[in-house]
């Protein structure tokens, strides 16, 4: 059971949290919605919830709630640049199919 960040992703997350001035880590989760059934949640975390699991990757605390974990277990979060755009990318081994844009997915 684990969720990992690439070095680049971790560096960006640390940088964003530092500039934001608060936050205990990064919250990753899923919820049901979107054209392929599930959608990712990627948020700053201000506190650790009761049913949160914690992972550490390159110095970043990653929080995942119990219910989301099966959908994202083994996932790697990367930070990439595509043309002018840049942002986080999920490399999720659990995904069976995803919508064209990849914002929602099925397992």
């Amino acid at each position: 059971m684990a969720i990992t960040l690439t070095e680049s992703a971790a560096r960006h997350v640390q940088n964003f949290i530092a500039k934001r001035g608060k936050g205990v880590g990064l919250r990753i989760g899923v919820r049901t919605s979107g054209c392929s059934g599930m959608a990712y949640k990627l948020e700053f975390a201000d506190e650790v919830g009761g049913d949160d699991l914690q992972f550490a990757s390159h110095g970043v605390t990653v929080l995942v709630d119990q219910k989301s974990l099966p959908y994202v277990d083994g996932m790697e979060l990367d930070y990439t640049r595509e043309g002018l755009n840049e942002g986080f990318k999920f490399n999720n081994p659990n995904v069976k199919n995803q919508c064209g844009c990849g914002e929602s997915f099925g397992v």
Partner: protein, 634 residues
């Protein structure tokens, strides 16, 4: 796959529903676009890799348009078709543009019959180019279009809207022209924001202590000073002043003149002048971090220039320029009826404020260090992006009240039949208070339930319920006699106070709610869309409910009368009324307000003589046992 950004806790967007919003600094010399990503305001790169887009638009004979650096490069070669500083013409008529003869453009006044966006008498000035006559609105739209395209490319989606900054002194025509330009560029304007306010927001002063702040903005060609008062998270512009012909370029000019003197040069050709100005500018920038700089250049004549300029020499030659900014400062303070000691903080805007002698002069003047840790070229765009992010609904829960300066959806009260009576219409600015009188529905009613709702729909069930409370202790009176005054008041913090007061005995009840609580912009948008889509349904529904309510009221009144004075009716008369009552009750099941209305009329007709008889009886009972003189004494 799509690239995701980190949201504030609980604010992850749904797939395909990213609320991408940007802040745009549409400047006289340069324009920038910024957005909030991963919680931080950043200026976005454009296609050429830079962040700053020169506000220059060049029209070509084939109808194509070049914006930015490529247009700027042709400024001298194709002056008549290359429009710089178009912001000076926004919303201005021909007679407002004073320096017409000194500018290389072919100006035309708009035909007076044409409807101009700014509604100016005589129309906004226009410029004849090789691609046709262009208005300043169209020229600005070209700049905005480029910014919009690079923002959409950088964010990977369509923008929901933009906050565009304008000088604090812009009047309605200039603001309207700016809005029109944005619309023409396909941008949804979330708000026009004053430039000094944007700078203050970028520094987070909207979260700082209340007080008065000064914004010192020395751009490439203009100087603006604004005095702002922050109270309850809202900035108010107290005064503005400035010099529209003073900027960083004048400092370059001073170094240029010094170079001419040092090297005993007389008037140079345009190419050499540009060359020396470029070197002068570089030297000025060098002297921000170094105490001296070398200027070396070779003129077209082959003559080589090699000079050393020290910081103190530069300061000495530019001293009167620095001093010229202080006079508008004093005037702005005087206009605001304030003293230097009243200023809580000073914000620096514009690349020219990087010069140490400017910082020093401002520090001396105000007796405090100005805020300079943000890039002064970007600070306005950064602040606009923060505001855009808030307005687009990507805010965290604890600071949403700060910018709630209008009521996004109407506030009202539920009335009989589940209908909404709107008391404060949407888009009312806050603080505001409105009151309306209501009455009782039944005889002897002593309590009233007040249900506060928000939304644009006619039925309570389609609006959002905010609060419910009861007013008790209403004196027993016949239906419709009590007068209950309901007051809705929204204060500057966006808090809604609802109070209900019975006017005869003064009993009162009140409640406080936060009207924006939990309503996201997406919900607000949906509610607004619903209200226009369902306008027809709503009208039908309202008509139906109104008739149903009236029917119920009538049935109750007739029933009550039959119980009390049924003996006044003969068998046939009573049967006639009861038949009509049954008919009316039947129509209540049908969703047809016209049928109900007909049945109400029928029942009313059937009860005319009964009502007459009751009236006679009650008059008789009042008169019974009294003589004429007693009656006349009343």
């Amino acid at each position: 796959m799509a690239l995701l950004q980190i949201s504030e806790p609980g604010l992850s967007t749904l797939p395909h529903q990213h609320r991408l919003a940007v802040g745009i600094d549409l400047g006289t010399t340069n324009s920038l676009v910024a957005t909030v990503r991963n919680g931080i305001s950043v200026v976005l790169n454009n296609e050429s890799g830079g962040t700053i887009l020169p506000s220059v638009v060049r029209y070509l004979a084939d109808g194509s348009v070049v914006v930015g650096e490529a247009a700027q490069a042709m400024q001298n070669e194709d002056a008549a078709n290359t429009i710089v500083s178009v912001k000076r013409f926004m919303g201005r008529g021909l007679k407002d543009v004073g320096e017409i003869n000194r500018l290389p453009y072919r100006f035309v006044g708009a035909p007076s019959s044409s409807v101009t966006p700014g509604g100016l008498p005589g129309g906004m000035v226009q410029i004849r180019t090789v691609a046709g006559v262009k208005s300043p609105v169209e020229v600005s739209a070209e700049i905005l279009r480029v910014l919009r395209n690079s923002a959409e490319a950088a964010l990977g989606g369509e923008l929901v809207g933009a906050v565009i900054t304008v000088p604090a002194y812009f009047d309605d025509a200039q603001r309207q022209a700016t809005k029109d330009a944005a619309r023409l560029a396909g941008l949804n304007v979330l708000r026009l924001l004053n430039e000094p306010t944007a700078a203050a927001i970028a520094y987070g002063l909207d979260n700082a202590a209340e007080g008065v702040y000064a914004v010192y903005d020395l751009g490439g060609g203009t100087f603006d000073i604004s005095i702002l008062r922050l109270s309850r998270g809202v900035f108010e512009v107290l005064s503005t002043n400035g010099d529209s012909a003073l900027g960083g370029d004048d400092f370059d000019q001073r170094i240029h003149c010094w170079l001419l003197e040092k090297n005993h040069l007389s008037a140079l050709g345009p190419r050499d002048t540009r060359l020396l100005l470029t070197h002068a500018r570089a030297a000025k920038e060098q002297l921000t971090d170094h105490v001296e700089t070398h200027i070396t250049a070779m003129l077209s004549t082959g003559e080589v220039i090699d000079n050393v300029l020290t910081r103190s020499e530069f300061h000495a030659m530019s001293q009167n320029l620095v001093q010229r900014t202080l006079q508008p400062l004093r005037r702005a303070l005087r206009d605001a009826k304030l003293d230097v000691a009243d200023i809580k903080g000073v914000v620096m805007v514009g690349g020219a404020t990087r010069m140490p002698q400017i910082k020093h002069a401002v520090k001396e003047f105000f007796g405090q260090m100005p805020l300079t840790n943000l890039d002064p070229d970007k600070v306005v765009a950064l602040g606009a992006a923060i505001q855009a992010n808030l307005l687009a609904g990507n805010r965290s829960g604890d600071d949403d009240w700060l910018l709630l300066d209008v009521i996004p959806l109407s506030l009202g009260i539920e009335t009989m039949g589940g209908l909404v009576e709107k008391i404060i219409p949407r888009n009312s600015t806050i603080p505001t208070a409105r009151a309306q009188e209501f009455t009782t529905f039944k005889d002897g009613q002593t309590a009233m339930s007040i249900h506060v709702v928000q939304g644009e729909r006619e039925l309570v069930s389609d609006c959002r319920s905010l609060a419910k409370f009861e007013l008790r202790g209403i004196p027993a009176m016949v239906a419709g006699a009590a007068r209950i005054r309901v007051t809705l008041q929204v204060d500057a913090d966006g808090l809604l106070n609802v109070s209900a007061r019975e006017m005869s005995n003064g009993v009162e009840a009140a409640i406080t709610v936060k009207p924006s609580y939990g309503l996201s912009d997406a919900e607000i948008t949906r509610m607004l869309q619903d209200s226009s889509q369902h306008a027809q349904d709503d009208m039908q529904a309202r008509a139906l409910r109104e008739q149903q309510t009236e029917a119920e009221q009538l049935l109750e009144a007739v029933q009550h009368a039959l119980e009390q004075d049924g003996d006044l009716l003969d068998q046939a008369g009573r049967a006639r009324i009861e038949t009509q009552m049954a008919a009316l009750r039947h129509t209540l099941q049908l969703a047809d307000h016209l049928a109900i209305k007909r049945a109400i009329t029928a029942l009313n007709d059937a009860t005319v003589s009964f009502a007459q008889a009751r009236m006679d009886k009650s008059v008789a009972s009042v008169l019974a046992g009294k003589n004429i003189s007693e009656l006349e004494a009343k």
